[in-house]
């Protein structure tokens, strides 16, 4: 599997990581190499095998649908880079 620079830019966009031209040039062969190495899995016969969903059998638990905590706005916002009026603040998204 060979990853071209356009694919690197596409993936970086999906991953929300800005990449410089030189990073793109470096990442393309690196990712190609790694993806080429994992390509060997295509050779494994998996007919009739279900994809694994849990390593140790465990049942998802349900709890009562009730409010158990809340009113901790200050704690929730304590580490926010920017918080205003009890909310996380982000750059303007609506014109």
């Amino acid at each position: 599997m060979s990853v071209d620079t356009e694919t690197v830019r596409h993936i970086a966009r999906l991953a929300r990581i800005s990449v410089s031209d030189s990073e793109v040039e470096a990442l393309a062969p690196e990712l190609s190499n790694i993806l080429g190495w994992i390509e060997q899995l295509q050779a494994v016969d998996v007919s009739g095998i279900e994809p694994m969903t849990a390593v140790i059998p465990n049942r998802l638990r349900l709890r009562e649908d009730a409010v158990t905590e809340g009113g901790i706005t200050d704690s929730v916002l304590a580490n926010a880079p920017v918080a205003e009026h009890g909310f996380f603040a982000v750059p303007k998204v609506i014109e």
């Binding site: 970086a12 800005s18 690196e30 060997q40 580490n79």
Partner: protein, 493 residues
């Protein structure tokens, strides 16, 4: 007189209980060792006040006759565990300054059991690495040096390299680690200490910064098997806040420890003999086989045919889960924000993540994003989950014939910093023996078994059946008793 920092967890616990020394004396000795050990770069944050406060409480509890299981024992906590009021970065610059308002379940259990916290231990960024070189705060240095006196600083292993370095250098008697694909076992092997990854679900993941949620497990790293058992008993236990936490009683692993392996069958998987592994690794493995036989175990040759696919499977599943888990670092809720003038929301995300993540983390997020992207999901991710099922089935099929498995922990002794950092795949190969047990969720432990020609530690790995940590610990103890591993790094720091 023996120095307090030479004592392990059991000895410190018992010494405080018997009144041989006070918890405050113990804490003071370790706080001093941590300060003097700064050249190792093992601690990102030192918390002497917390260690001292816990020690004072332990001495008071002793006077009142109310000692707790870990009263008087100071520990290091890997920086992946959220610690209330103490910076938690997961080794990443993107979380610089993040100060949790809550305590992780596992570290909370340790503190509630009377343990003191000496500080937060350095690690590979978001636990992605096998050498500690991906830390955003500089690599940890192993206390070990090669015998040829070449002064090349060696890797302490990773990702729990701050933990392994600190325990081996006697800055703390034990530390928490986490293991996604070998991050407890490989660093333990590199530094001549013991470490166990329990069955997936034994330790709650709540409050542990997530890397690959279907693989992440916490576990103890300490100087011997008994100390690991003591710590694990406190760390394990049901937590309703983690949906994969197992609602099962925690066995009395320490009290049940026994090096008598009569009636136990130990499998030797032939696929773990791979090309290019130094002869010294093979001979320490052979030695381990003899030791277990001497302890009464029957040795059985077994086959795990899909072993060679474990590493590529891991490097699809772990990055895929990581790309999803690390989506939360967006500069909005915590950590770093980079907002160029006039940037849109998307541009802020992209700038924040570009500045905050290091190269290995970016690489893995990109791989994960790629294998999950439209058109590739089936060919990569689904295929990997099917191969993962086959790897787990290999293990299930040998459990009918044997009770546990013995393998080397890592394909080499510690390497020098910088030696493997240019080639990601060469670095990934470090975990070739560790990853299969991770993919199958099995308990697995590394114990020190000997030294190589350069005087560097080599470890042996024991892999057990689901929930059978006891068999793993017992066999680890049998090896430990026969290996008589008393070597330690000569102090240069």
């Amino acid at each position: 007189m023996t120095h307090h920092t030479d004592l392990g967890i059991a000895a410190l616990r018992d010494g405080v209980r018997n009144g041989d020394f006070s918890a405050v004396e113990v804490a003071r000795a370790h706080i001093e060792a941590v300060e003097k050990g700064r050249a190792l770069n093992a601690f990102l944050v030192e918390t002497p006040d917390l260690a001292m406060a816990a020690a004072e409480a332990a001495d008071k509890d002793r006077a009142a006759g109310e000692l707790k299981p870990l009263s008087g024992v100071p520990l290091g906590i890997k920086d992946l565990f959220a610690t209330k009021g103490v910076q938690t970065t997961a080794g990443s610059r993107i979380l610089e300054g993040f100060t949790p308002v809550y305590e992780s379940h596992v570290s909370g259990r340790l503190l509630a059991a009377g343990a003191g916290m000496l500080g937060k231990l350095n690690m590979d960024e978001f636990a992605m690495g096998s050498s500690n070189e991906t830390s955003g705060y500089g690599a940890v240095i192993s206390p070990w040096r090669r015998k040829d006196k070449g002064n090349a600083p060696l890797a302490p292993g990773g990702s729990s390299g701050g933990s392994s370095s600190a325990v081996a250098a006697r800055l703390c008697p034990g530390a928490t680690g986490t293991d996604t694909g070998g991050s407890i076992r490989q660093p333990a092997a590199f530094t001549g200490i013991a470490g166990i990854k329990p069955t997936y679900g034994r330790c709650s993941r709540w409050g542990i910064v997530a890397f690959a949620s279907s693989l992440d497990q916490a576990g103890p790293m300490a100087r011997d098997v008994r100390d690991c058992a003591i710590m694990l008993e406190v760390m394990a236990g049901f937590d309703p806040k983690d949906s994969t936490s197992l609602d099962l009683p925690v066995p009395k692993w320490e009290a049940s420890l026994s090096a008598d392996l009569r009636g136990r069958k130990v499998g030797i998987p032939k696929e773990y003999r791979i090309d290019g592994v130094p002869a010294e690794i093979d001979s320490v493995w052979q030695q381990g086989i003899e030791w277990l036989r001497d302890a009464g175990a029957e040795i059985v040759n077994v086959s795990l045919p899909h072993t060679r696919y474990a590493l590529p499977t891991y490097y699809i599943i772990a990055p895929a889960e990581a790309s999803s888990n690390l989506a939360r670092y967006d500069g909005v809720r915590y950590g770093k924000r980079v907002q160029p003038d006039g940037a849109s929301l998307n541009e802020m995300y992209e700038a924040t993540r570009a500045a905050g993540f290091g190269p290995e983390v970016k690489r893995r997020i990109m791989i994960g994003t790629y294998v999950l992207s439209a058109g590739f999901y089936d060919a990569y991710f689904n295929q990997a989950q099917k191969v993962r099922a086959l790897i787990a089935r290999d293990f299930e099929q040998v459990w009918g014939k044997v009770d546990l498995l013995l393998t080397p922990t890592a394909p080499s002794a510690a390497f020098a910093l910088g030696e493997k950092s240019a080639d990601p795949i060469a670095m990934y190969l470090n975990d070739v023996f560790a990853v299969p047990a991770s993919l199958a969720g099995l308990p697995a432990m590394s114990v020190p078994a000997g030294l190589d020609g350069q005087g560097l530690p080599l470890g042996l790995q024991l892999i057990g059946q689901p929930l059978d940590e006891q068999a793993v610990l017992d066999a680890g103890l049998a090896i430990e008793q026969r290996a008589g591993f008393t070597h330690r790094a000569e102090r240069w720091w």
